[in-house]
Structure formats: C-alpha cells, structure tokens
C-alpha cells in the first residue's frame, strides 16, 4: 500500500514552525517512514510546479503555517487547498493570525512607510515602494502584492484542523500525526490541543492564591520574579487563565509570563477582550487615580492581549485599514 502523501508549507511566518517539525528529532524518522513528504520548500527541493502537477486531493494532508498577507501566499493556500484532502492550520499565525497579524493595527501604507521611510537605517528620498512589476533590461521581474490586511488561514480557505502554538509543541504535533495515521482524528474543525486553560498544567498552579489582588501590574524587566510563585500573583500580566493548554508551560518554567500563543478556549468569542477582562478584574484598585497607576505598566493593551490573535478577533483590524 502506498504511503499517505504529506506536505508542509509556510506563508507569513518566521520559520519557527519549520523548526518545530525538526524538533521532532529522532521521531521525524518515524514520520518519514510512515508518510511520503511530497512538498516542503523549507527543507526539500520541491517547486510550485510539482504541486500544480498533482491531481486534486492527491496529498492526504498539508500542514500550512503562517498568516496570509500577500498575493503569492493566497495563491499557494488556494492551490494547496485543491491538492490536499486535509489542511491543518499549523501554529499561531495560521490559526489566529500570530505576530504578523499585529500589522492589522496599521494601514498597509502605514506598514510600508515604517519599513521604507521611517526605519532607522533607511535612506529613501524618492519614497520608493515595492512594485509588483519592474521592467529590467533582462526582462520583466515581478513581486507578490502586499494585501491591505493580514488574514489567518481559514479566512482565505476552509481548514479542517488547527494546531495552536508559537510554534506548536512537539507533543501536540506528535499527537496530531498519530491521529492522522491511525485515523483517530476528532470531528473536522477541531483544535488539536486540550480543552482547558494553561493554568491547569502550570507547574506553579498550587501557588496561585484564592484571591489575586495586587495594586499594579509590572513588566518582566522590572522585577526579579520568584521562580516558585504564580506570576500573576506577582503582578506580571500572565495570560494563562485565558489561553489553551498543551504546551506544558515552558515560558513559565523559564520565569516569563504566558503571552497567549495557545489561542482561545472553546466558547471564547474574542481572546483579547476575554484576557483583558480577566486581567482588569484581578487588580486591586477602585478609583480612577489608582486604576491609572495600576494599569500604567500595560502600555500597549492591543499588543498585550491580541498578541497572536488580532486577525481572529471580532475587531479584526484597525478601523479604516
């Protein structure tokens, strides 16, 4: 019997998700033995033409990481959708928009101006911008077009499964591959991670007081956090209560608060404002002046609460962008 064909692809992402597959270490040999990798531009020499030559649905599953913000990424997502039976949105950017999704706080021109005019080492007196076509002496060269906004994967193509995380933890990847090979996948549309908040698997959960109350949030560089005590109890903005578990809390083990890459739990309408609600409720401040002091060290609420999820939020993008 022929082995199932599997592909990996990256859109707007940092490469960390590709690294996560390499992090499977020796287990990757088991994967290679069980499946045929037919497309993985980051690691193996396949071209777009190879995918175009496949029959529709020929690939059993394609793992796509990264958000979608260019015409090329959109074309590839649509192409892979035709060629793959199952699409797995792999990692925070494909699942909820991720860090690139924060570009939705700015207009397209705002993003381009930051990169091509305002950047510290940029000299661009003519205000040049990337062109989709340029007639060079050797012939016309082209570039993909940058979209107005950044989208998560299921805003451009239907997606069967989601693997959250920045990047997805090895444990969840192994679990997903196992479920695919054994045919034990949950219903389509499922998120392949536990349905419980990160606090439940936090090594410091027993140190979380019954009632959290502190007078002001602090940022990680402002205190030396007690390595045994709940970070939220120490005034650090930890998104553990609002974030899906499955990672075994490596950030907290490293004495840094959770920033929410695991994405929302079932029933959350909007991860950012849900986390904002939890954070604001634990602060011990009752009047305007003390609330202002208590929240002073949350200078960028959109960046803090929608860090990985702005395109997945109900607001989606800055008004008018």
């Amino acid at each position: 019997m022929s082995k199932p064909k599997v592909g990996f692809y990256w859109c707007a992402s940092c490469g960390g998700c590709e690294e996560a597959i390499v992090d499977l270490a020796a287990d990757i040999l088991g994967v290679v033995a069980a499946v045929d990798i037919v497309f993985w531009p980051c690691a193996m020499d396949f071209k777009r033409a190879d995918v175009e030559a496949m029959a529709d649905g020929e690939m059993a599953v394609c793992f796509v990481n990264g958000a979608v913000r260019t015409s090329e990424q959109l074309e590839m997502a649509e192409l892979l959708r035709r060629k793959a039976g199952l699409i797995v949105a792999f990692g925070s950017c494909a699942h909820t928009g991720g860090i690139p999704g924060l570009a939705n706080l700015y207009s397209r021109e705002g993003v381009l101006a930051a990169a091509y005019d305002a950047a510290f080492a940029t000299v661009n007196p003519e205000g040049m911008r990337p062109q989709t076509e340029y007639a060079a002496p050797e012939g016309t060269v082209t570039l993909p077009e940058l979209h107005e906004t950044v989208k998560k994967l299921d805003q451009v193509i239907p997606v069967e499964y989601y693997l959250p995380g920045c990047p997805p933890p090895v444990k969840l990847i192994t679990g997903a591959l196992g479920a695919i090979l054994e045919g034990t996948l949950p219903p389509k549309g499922s998120i392949l991670a536990p349905e419980i908040a990160l606090c439940s698997e936090c090594p410091r959960k027993d140190s979380k007081p019954e009632k959290l109350d502190f007078t002001a949030f602090k940022r990680p560089h402002q205190i030396i956090a007690d390595p045994a005590l709940c970070l939220l109890a120490q005034g650090l903005l930890c998104l553990g209560p609002s974030t899906r578990a499955g990672c075994d809390a490596p950030c907290i083990t490293g004495n840094m608060p959770c920033t929410g890459c695991g994405g929302p739990l079932e029933g959350t309408k909007d991860l950012g404002t849900n986390a904002l609600s939890a954070a604001a409720s634990v602060l011990e401040a009752t009047d305007e002046a003390s609330i202002a002091v208590g929240l002073a060290e949350v200078p960028d609420p959109a960046g803090a609460f929608y860090r990985y999820s702005l395109p997945a939020s109900l607001l989606y993008a800055k008004k008018g962008s």
Binding site: T273, P301, L315
Partner: protein, 155 residues
C-alpha cells in the same frame, strides 16, 4: 426616521439596580429620549464582559453605553469597580484600533436619576450621529462562504 439623517444604533448595558431602574423611572415620568438605544439589562455593570462590547460593535452597533451604580453604591459592593477597571483598559485598546472615544461610554446613573438617563442617551446619540456609522473592516471569509448577518443588521 426616514428623512435621510443617519440613525445610529446604540446598545446600552444597564445595571439592574441603578441605571435600568433609572431608565424605568424616565419612562414612568414620561421623559422622552432618542429611540436609537437598545437596552440590555445586566444584574451588575461588573457582569459586563468586554467581549460583549466588541461583539455589539461587530454585529452592527455604532456605539455602546454602559450604565452602573455610582462608586460606593454597588449592590454587590465591588462590581462597578471591576467595570471601571475593565472599561479603562478596554477604552485604551479600542483607541489603538481606531474606535473613536465617544462610541463607548460608561456612566454612573443612580435609580433616582431618570433625567440623567435622558440627557446621557440624547447626548450620546447626537455625538455618534455626528461621527457617522462605525465602519469596522469586514472580517474576510473564504470564497463562497457567506457571512452570517444578524437579523438586526439585515436592511
């Protein structure tokens, strides 16, 4: 309401013990106020999940008004303090996303202040009318998937 003036939709979340009672009082006292407001009764302003505010904005509200008891008067002692903390942080977040200040407003209105309900609603409707429709960026969907339009927004 069909003379061509923009009629904003305002969703109001009123606390059962103070502001909702004040709105009742305004009604009993035959005070009229702009008909642009849809009132949702909550047991306490502390029940107001900020998700309700963004959900209302996404589903067609041009503004959201939150009414609670004056500080110190909460039926549950601290619910309105919680509401104020959430509101403070939420307003900063909404500002980052380009949502004008006048569109989301918190007011402490006691059960006896029917006139304040009238004044605040009329004021807010006029302000939001001047701003125009909210105009959030539409959430994209894959080709062929229709957006679910809530009945309130189906024109």
């Amino acid at each position: 309401m069909s003379d061509g003036t923009f009629q904003p939709r305002i969703v109001a979340f009123f606390c059962n013990w103070c502001t909702y009672t004040a709105a009742d009082l305004a009604g009993i006292s035959r005070m009229s106020y702009a008909a642009n407001v849809r009132v949702v009764r909550l047991m306490c302003s502390g029940r107001l999940d900020p998700q309700f505010v963004v959900a209302a904005l996404r589903q067609g509200a041009d503004g959201v008004l939150i009414g609670g008891c004056h500080p110190g008067d909460c039926h549950y002692q601290v619910g309105n303090h919680k509401a104020l903390r959430r509101f403070t942080l939420l307003k900063r977040l909404l500002g980052q996303l380009g949502i004008e200040d006048e569109r989301v407003r918190l007011e402490w209105i006691a059960a006896s202040e029917g006139d304040k309900v009238q004044r605040v609603i009329n004021e807010m409707v006029a302000q939001v009318r001047a701003l125009g429709p909210l105009g959030l960026t539409a959430i994209p969907r894959p080709h062929g998937e229709a957006a679910a339009v809530p009945p309130c927004c189906a024109e």
